[in-house]
């Protein structure tokens, strides 16, 4: 009897340790062909996908299966878009403004400061972050107050053409595109961490952060790098990628926008 308990205990210990060592990886599921659309940014609103098409100056609205519902034209180089649950926020790179589109009408995000080629925006719990490309800085609104941080350079806290931004886990994550890295800041703009220095990224153009992972598109190397929140590389996704520009995690599916491929690649997490 004692031996039985001993064996059972060993078995339980083995099972628990095996679970902890299970490798979870993102695995390719399917491709959503976008026709002539050249995707730059991705966001979701009410279960549907929205894609910004920079070359054709439009937003494309897709259903959850990827079927085009309609196209909204007349933007000036729409870049990495975001949603606040009601409207789509569109950084118009050519117009130096953030346009808010609610499906019918457009308005402009009021800013005291002026933008120079805004390339990315993210909204989370009333906070707003904007990647201001030619000004090499981030604008951040924490409830009521706007702050600006960063300047052109390569040091910690400096940027060289930031193209995207994501607010998550009470931090601001920046795709510091042409410094080829991700920088992480607190909500006061203090530099906390740099990710991706070892991976020889070539143009870190699009970023998405979940509760446990950081995703970055490595545009020129045709791959997406996946890190844990401590900055450790956990996966390198290369299947079917052609100049990826953005990532979105929605309803347990990982969408990657392929600018050159003119499609969205869909991945799901599997246990190996």
């Amino acid at each position: 009897m004692e031996l039985y308990k001993y064996v059972l205990a060993l078995f339980l210990i083995y099972s628990i340790s095996s679970c902890n060592n299970d490798t979870k990886e993102w695995s390719y599921v399917k491709t959503i062909d976008l026709g002539s659309t050249t995707p730059i940014g991705l966001t979701a609103l009410e279960g549907h996908l929205w894609v910004s098409d920079g070359d054709n100056n439009q937003l494309v609205h897709l259903d959850s299966e990827g079927k085009v519902l309609f196209k909204e034209e007349g933007f000036e180089r729409p870049m990495h878009i975001a949603s606040d649950g009601k409207s789509i926020y569109v950084p118009e790179y050519g117009k130096d403004q953030i346009t808010i589109f609610n499906g019918k009408e457009r308005s402009q995000l009021n800013l005291v400061d002026s933008l120079d080629a805004p390339a990315g925006i993210h909204i989370e719990d009333g906070q707003i972050a904007i990647a201001d490309f030619y000004n090499h800085r981030i604008l951040f609104k924490n409830q009521n107050e706007w702050i600006s941080f960063g300047k052109e350079g390569k040091a910690d806290g400096e940027f060289y053409y930031p193209t995207d931004v994501h607010i998550a886990n009470n931090k601001i994550y920046v795709a510091d595109a042409y410094n080829n890295r991700i920088q992480v800041f607190d909500t006061e703009g203090n530099h906390k961490m740099t990710i991706g220095k070892e991976e020889k990224i070539n143009a870190a153009t699009g970023i998405y952060v979940s509760s446990s992972q950081v995703f970055i598109t490595d545009f020129e190397n045709d791959r997406v790098l996946v890190y844990d929140l401590e900055g450790k590389l956990v996966q390198e996704i290369t299947e079917e990628l052609e100049k990826p520009t953005d990532i979105l995690l929605e309803n347990e599916s990982l969408y990657i926008a392929n600018y050159k491929g003119k499609n969205l690649m869909v991945f799901k997490m599997i246990h190996e």
């Binding site: 050249t38 730059i40 920079g54 070359d55 180089r77 790179y93 050519g94 080629a117 390339a119 490309f133 030619y134 060289y160 053409y161 193209t163 595109a177 042409y178 410094n179 080829n180 070539n202 143009a203 153009t205 545009f219 020129e220 100049k243 520009t245 600018y259 050159k260």
Partner: protein, 210 residues
């Protein structure tokens, strides 16, 4: 009848003259080929830089070929030098530039300025030149082709080798190598100055040759 014929001929002649006048445009057509426009942020940035020229219209960028087209009022007298300078300010290299004036005349930049003579001796050589991307390729090739004596210069961004044909009587590998290093690219024989390397666009900042 005779009067009617005169009227018809006069009207016809007047119409032809009027059409000839209206066929001249008051806008010049500018076409620039710029390498390394595969990145949309790069291409949109170039477009934005050119919008500093007030009056620019009909902007079109072909990402695959790097061809950038626009029209501009003829009276403002755009020049090849101004176009190339604006491309340079945007951080790129104009490979070829062409202006078709409103009156139909064409001006084009010259890619290669070498003239051969009886004393010319053409030599072929491949040398290593560090770089990353299409923008590097445009910069390296344009620099090499602008050297008197170079007949051909083609850089492969995958194996980083520059294939050269040059006239030994007019230039040398050392001179070519130094010019390329001055443009920011390390070669087998010459190293770029640190500040010149640091001024390269981010995507061009290759791993330095030790």
């Amino acid at each position: 009848m005779k009067n009617l014929l005169i009227i018809i001929i006069s009207t016809f002649t007047f119409t032809i003259s009027s059409n000839s006048l209206y066929s001249q445009s008051d806008r010049d057509q500018i076409e620039v080929q710029v390498d390394g426009l595969g990145c949309p942020f790069c291409a949109y940035g170039l477009e934005k830089k050119f919008k500093e020229f007030k009056g620019i219209k009909d902007v079109k960028i072909e990402m695959e070929t790097g061809i950038f087209n626009f029209t501009y009022p003829s009276e403002k007298e755009m020049t090849l030098e101004k176009v190339e300078s604006q491309v340079d300010k945007a951080g790129y290299t104009a490979v070829t530039t062409k202006i078709t004036r409103g009156d139909g005349t064409v001006e084009e930049s010259k890619q290669n300025i070498t003239e051969l003579s009886d004393k010319s001796e053409i030599v072929s050589k491949d040398i290593f030149v560090a770089g990353n991307c299409g923008m590097c390729q445009a910069r390296i090739e344009k620099t090499a082709n602008s050297i008197v004596g170079v007949v051909k210069a083609e850089w492969d961004k995958d194996n980083k080798m520059l294939t050269l044909e040059y006239d030994k009587a007019q230039t040398s590998i050392g001179e070519i190598s130094e010019s390329i290093a001055k443009a920011g690219h390390d070669t087998k024989y010459s190293k770029a100055e640190e500040d010149v390397y640091n001024d390269l666009p981010g995507c061009c900042q290759y791993e330095r040759v030790q």
